[in-house]
Symmetry: C2
Subunit: 348 residues, 2 copies
């Protein structure tokens, strides 16, 4: 991965390469998304008008629940049923200390790795300030504008970030295993709230009936829903139930597309993305006002008047002397940054 600056012309040429089927170009584009910064923003500008056709399916659930094997099976179903190419983004937001697992899991998808209709890519967060949940829609648009009509987004783990990543997708599949605890835990983690399709994988093990009963009970408690998430039983390792899962996903997609459900959902996701992007933007402005902007990010904010930096530093000094309290100082800093955002040269 080269560190030299990338020109918009170079990005455009890579995007054209990606659309023409050049996988090295595609891989480089996704690395730009991963790394964030100015090239990622430029790429977002480039791909946005050329995207909007791709359907995304998110898969989330606890590590070891069998998501990768299930995804491998779903790739096969999708290829067979639609005849269209399929891409997979395997997202690993876990801390470096628990990393490594994802590459092992990828092995299960290797059967598809040489298929020219399948593209599999692992992604981790690095420079992207808004984190993975902010990077995923950008990555999907890179694939979308390169002509991939269907993208599976698989996450590792069940934290807040994973729920957020899954929630950027059109259809959200939550994978559980038999056993009383799993359904309750998924509910606590906010997974049932976002689920469109529920899977009990490893359904050849004891406890399926109890898990199903718990799920039905908890879904009933959430009140009226325009779509009641179906519960599909699978044994991913043998392929059992994978076809039924694909049918359930397709039924949810048909439901969304039958009225303006898909458009409405995508509008809400767009607003989510705006919240994340502006948080990024804002954090750069705050760092600038506090005189803490990393040299590489100066270009994103432009020249900041020394008066602003002086005012920001003065605020921290007054705090240290306890002449002002943190909430009041935060209000002052917000006003300072607002003036910074509104100066004429701020628009990028």
């Amino acid at each position: 991965m080269s560190k030299r600056p990338t020109s918009p012309a170079e990005l455009l040429s890579l995007a054209e390469g990606g659309a023409a089927g050049d996988r090295r170009a595609l891989a480089r584009l996704l690395s730009f998304v991963e790394r964030g910064g100015a090239p990622a923003r430029e790429l977002s500008r480039l791909t946005y008008p050329r995207s909007g056709d791709c359907y995304t399916i998110g898969l989330t659930g606890a590590p070891g629940s069998g998501k990768s094997t299930l995804t491998a099976g779903l790739i096969g179903e999708a290829l067979r049923e639609t005849g269209s190419p399929v891409a997979v983004l395997a997202i690993d937001p876990s801390s470096p200390l628990s990393g490594g697992a994802i590459l092992g899991d990828r092995v299960r998808m290797q059967e598809h790795a040489l298929d020219h209709n399948v593209y599999i890519r692992s992604m981790a967060t690095r420079g992207h300030l808004g984190g993975l949940a902010a990077a995923v829609p950008d990555a999907v648009r890179v694939l979308d504008s390169a002509g991939w009509p269907l993208v599976f987004v698989e996450t590792v783990g069940v934290g807040q970030v994973e729920v957020e990543v899954a929630a950027t997708c059109d259809t959200i599949v939550v994978v559980l295993n038999p056993g009383w605890g799993d359904a309750v835990q998924a509910n606590k983690a906010g997974l049932l709230e976002v689920a469109d399709v529920l899977v009990i994988n490893k359904a050849d093990r004891p406890g399926v009936r109890e898990t199903k009963r718990d799920l039905v009970h908890m879904l009933q408690l959430t009140g009226e829903m325009s779509w009641m998430p179906p519960i599909v039983e699978t044994v991913a390792s043998s392929g059992e139930g994978t076809g039924a899962l694909w049918q359930a996903i397709s039924a949810h997609r048909a439901h969304l597309e039958s009225d303006d459900g898909l458009a409405r959902r995508r509008r809400a996701r767009m607003a989510d993305e705006m919240e994340r992007l502006t948080a990024d933007n804002y954090s750069h402005l705050v760092a600038a006002a506090l005189g803490r902007l990393a040299p590489g990010d100066v270009g994103l904010v432009g020249t900041v008047a020394s008066e602003t930096v002086d005012a920001g530093r003065d605020l921290v000094e007054r705090l240290s002397r306890r002449e002002i309290d943190p909430p009041a100082a935060a209000d002052e800093l917000v006003a300072l940054v607002a003036r910074l955002a509104l100066r004429p040269e701020a628009s990028s």
Copy 2:
């Protein structure tokens, strides 16, 4: 935990109770910090001028590394050596799916639970928007203003949040176990960068020498340091090395206090806190502009003109029609929110 609104007078009376040694009052105050929102801000205003004397020691490291047992031992050392009371904040930022461990670990501290010179409290994030790293300094100030001069902040896990939580403290202790991988992983997680004292716990197991050699090597690579983190070997379960660890912590504290190191460190932490607080503040303004503010948060932002909400919604519509791209829309939204922040009634 009551849901009724809390008046500043009630908070003041609780704060006075906490300072007079009323533990129920202290517990309620910390619950307000945990829950966030307007009462937490009010409490921050209240405690800030009355705090600044408390010294904080952060302990972080992988689950199972023996942090809780070590903390229990350090409580004993601190009580013996300083004669002053000691408080512990046990922070659990993990997802609900891995929760539960912390209460088990707390059992190891039970020997101190009935000591009136010791206060132990578990904290998880709930409403606090800036997350745990934002809540911890507020929680420390509650204890500080109630007269606790020494607070241990123990985290579970080794993710980014845990590193951030530890980095709010005056002395940062990183706990490792023998074995080649641990030191490398800690380095990857950014733990060595923030460590003031390194502990190899369970030092009765094989691999201590190798871990120590790896640590020394990695510390040398980080270049010149005004303080070289000592490496202390402990067997927390038997108490071996706990005294040496307390001495190492005290030496670091003396080093910080020998010149303006402590003041400089606290100024940097204050700027960190400002970044987190303003991000909170800003996210409320963005939600308001997008017409998505939760009813409970309306008070934090004040009345938002319907023109602003219309403009925010219009932005999402234009995005959905692909008339504007996400980075450009983010710039527009930042400007919209900046005007919102600068309106006369915005200051709270």
